[in-house]
């Protein structure tokens, strides 16, 4: 993973020194993608917000100990995506034992056809497969970096990517037909 840019290092240094404005800059830089990544994995708006909030709170609590030479994004995304996977797994487990809840699905009302298809395809994947797709194509991590973030062998990441993409493609083909 590449190191942080000068601007980000400056924000982190400022936030560690107590600057709210530097913290806010850091937050605004990273919140949108962290929140969206959580949403794409859990497919539940309230849960995604909670997960992003908890991740930022964890970051705030540990900011003083953060090594400024490291990039902030991967540190945050590791927390977000792992929590999102845990949450989605727990929900799946609950569905197995209870028929109380309905299915949360992406709201695809305002999206183009291709995005709607991707949303539908993502919803059909397991949380683990969604996570690698999101890390690769929304957050732009390489498979090696994803392996580090999720503590997985690189081969597992590659196979999940391949399987996830195949599944998405099949669904998109069906929608086009």
């Amino acid at each position: 993973m590449v190191g942080p840019g000068r601007q980000e290092r400056s924000w982190i240094r400022g936030a560690q020194a107590g600057s709210v404005s530097d913290l806010e800059a850091l937050f605004r830089e990273h919140w949108p993608r962290a929140h969206r990544a959580a949403y794409l994995v859990v497919q539940d708006g309230a849960a995604a917000e909670d997960i992003a909030q908890e991740a930022f709170l964890a970051a705030m609590r540990n900011l003083d100990r953060f090594d400024r030479r490291r990039p902030f994004g991967p540190w945050l995304h590791r927390i977000v995506v792992n929590r999102a996977i845990d949450w989605a797994r727990a929900r799946a487990l609950r569905r197995e034992t209870s028929a109380v809840e309905g299915t949360d699905e992406f709201d695809t009302g305002d999206l183009g056809t291709f995005s709607s298809g991707v949303a539908a395809g993502l919803a059909s994947l397991s949380p683990e497969h969604r996570a690698v797709i999101v890390l690769r194509y929304l957050l732009d991590y390489t498979p090696g970096e994803i392996a580090d973030l999720l503590d997985l062998p690189r081969g597992t990441v590659n196979s999940r990517l391949r399987r996830g993409l195949d599944r998405l493609e099949a669904i998109l083909d069906r929608e086009r037909a």
Binding site: L23, R36, L57, D64, R65, W87, L93, S115, L138
Partner: protein, 399 residues
């Protein structure tokens, strides 16, 4: 796939609901947490390495300990297996006070010397404010018993009665009891008089009296938490809908309320404002407040590892970093804090043990064969699956 670029663009277009407001709320929370934190000094910052090493030692000790002795204690305290003692039966409590234990065989009272008495074939019991009486329920009946099990009064109802809770003594000898009659919430005086309906359709969780007040927290059928003045029936406040809680717990000063559901914990201030919420993995969970404090202990179960953890958090805007108290494979059930606040009782279902954790030092007393001790009927026959469902430890000294 039409190409990586297309997929990237498609993912960018999928927005989370309410993104802008979510960011505003997130920033508000992050800023509050940031402003509430205490920046580390240079010396404290460099202590991290030592703490990490200490934590690794503790975790290693936990990993190599026999089942039931995996103590992942606070880093501040040195923890070894020598800190865990195990008894085959409950012979005494580690602190003063009495336990009210609810098991399949009915409510039991356990004295500090370990002697115990079953109160009869009731489904559930709860202490009166000074442990002079116990309110009990079964089928369509609610009753008050003395600690010997003698009935002081009893009321028959039309629906299934459960969730009876006794208020604190707001005026001298003036108390109320709230209970659920089917889906209705009812209140009766501590003397069994003036029984009346307070709300017609409520959620399944037992109501919770705000300490020092005749104000009652309960859940609605759509998952709101509502606090009602039990004397007037006036709604004091009500939250927005959410997950229906299975447990409502007030802090001793009545300034904080925890609403624990299957998948979330909501932490509320006394005026109903949400301080924060946590998502939980599905599985056994529970909460209990530490005495004279807004700190609380929570059971967190991990389906991935099959372990339960005990964590200490604080019911403030910033929950603080969870302090990891204890971890063990399987499920933790009931939680109770001793009247002096020094001991935490944890029901460890899989090991059929009660663990008494000393909160002020790294020490654990384990008591085995709990089901057997609370699973014998009056005829002396063993009853299966009798591990206690709840325990309360009475009573803290009056202020």
């Amino acid at each position: 796939m039409s190409g990586d670029g297309d997929l990237r663009r498609a993912l960018q277009q999928i927005q989370a609901p309410d993104e802008i407001d979510a960011q505003r709320r997130g920033w508000s929370l992050a800023r509050a947490a940031f402003e509430a934190r205490e920046p580390l000094s240079w010396e404290r910052r460099h202590r991290g390495t030592l703490l990490a090493a200490a934590a690794a030692v503790v975790l290693l000790a936990a990993a190599i300990s026999p089942p039931g002795r995996a103590l992942v204690g606070s880093v501040r305290d040195a923890v070894t297996d020598e800190n865990v003692t195990t008894q085959p039966a409950l012979t005494s409590l580690p602190a003063s006070g009495r336990l009210l234990v609810n098991s399949k065989t009915g409510p039991w009272i356990v004295q500090a010397d370990g002697s115990k008495r079953r109160l009869g074939a009731w489904w559930e019991g709860a202490w009166s404010p000074n442990a002079e009486f116990v309110v009990v329920t079964r089928q369509r009946e609610v009753a008050a018993l003395d600690p010997e099990g003698n009935t002081r009064w009893s009321i028959g109802r039309s629906g299934i009665v459960r969730g009876a809770r006794w208020s604190s003594e707001v005026n001298p000898r003036d108390t109320r009891i709230a209970y659920l009659n089917g889906r209705a919430l009812r209140v009766v005086g501590g003397n069994g008089q003036e029984d009346r309906e307070l709300r017609r359709r409520v959620g399944i969780s037992a109501p919770a009296w705000r300490p020092g007040e005749f104000e009652l927290a309960f859940s609605t059928v759509d998952g709101r938490i509502e606090v009602v003045d039990a004397e007037t029936g006036r709604t004091v406040w009500r939250t927005v809908p959410g997950e229906i809680p299975k447990q409502l717990v007030w802090s001793e000063d009545g300034e904080r309320l925890l609403a624990l559901g299957d998948e979330s914990l909501r932490v509320l201030a006394a005026n109903g404002r949400k301080l924060f919420s946590l998502r939980l993995a599905v599985g056994p969970s529970g909460v209990v407040f530490v005495r004279d404090s807004h700190r609380f202990v929570m059971v967190r179960y991990s389906p991935a590892t099959g372990r339960s953890d005990l964590e200490l958090l604080q019911a403030e805007v910033d929950p603080g970093e969870a302090r990891f108290l204890y971890s063990a494979p399987g499920e933790f059930g009931s939680l109770a804090i001793s009247p002096n606040g020094n001991w935490l009782l944890v029901g460890w279902v899989n090991a059929d043990q009660w663990l008494f954790l000393r909160l002020t030092a790294a020490r654990v007393q384990a008591v085995s064969n709990i089901s057997q001790q609370f699973g014998v009927s009056t005829e002396g026959k063993p009853i299966a699956k009798a591990f206690p469902t709840s325990v309360s430890w009475c009573c803290p000294a009056s202020p």
